[in-house]
Symmetry: C2
Subunit: 103 residues, 2 copies
Amino acid sequence: MIKVSVFYPNGASAKFDMAYYLATHIPLVRQKLGSGCKGIAVDQGIAGGSPGTSPTYLASCHLLFNSVEEFQSAFAPHAAAIMGDIPNFTSVQPIIQINEVKL
Amino acid sequence: MIKVSVFYPNGASAKFDMAYYLATHIPLVRQKLGSGCKGIAVDQGIAGGSPGTSPTYLASCHLLFNSVEEFQSAFAPHAAAIMGDIPNFTSVQPIIQINEVKL
């Protein structure tokens, strides 16, 4: 199982509309990726690790697939639609990474 | 539900011993945190979002708790033991953040 993690960095003027993200973007992602996507998790950053610090990421999303190949074949045909919606909910460029799920 | 995410940054000389992490560190964390910890996920970074790029994080761990207060009361008494084990599996300082689970 692999996990595609999408991190939206925090910053002085960074904006992230969680209401739009949950109501519109995630349903779009789910519909476009189809049954190849085995699970979606969404987190909202609330604090850093030390008291009084800010979170590194305003929000993050984790998408599960059976393999990198299945992710690529599910995502590639819809990349423009999915990425094109990003400016509708955030001012920041996400950091993306692919993980192997170990536990 | 809250999620404590621990990210181990990638870098030129960054090292991370996943075998030790899974066999020794995670069981230590699980035993110390006790029943307050509702779930543990471990990811190993394998690639960045663009072809041929490296992952931002060598590894990450996500710990679920009912609330920030329950996390703090579970973690504080064992912080020294848990944090003290970090040099046994990595050369890097983790980035920690606390999230509210939205989905």
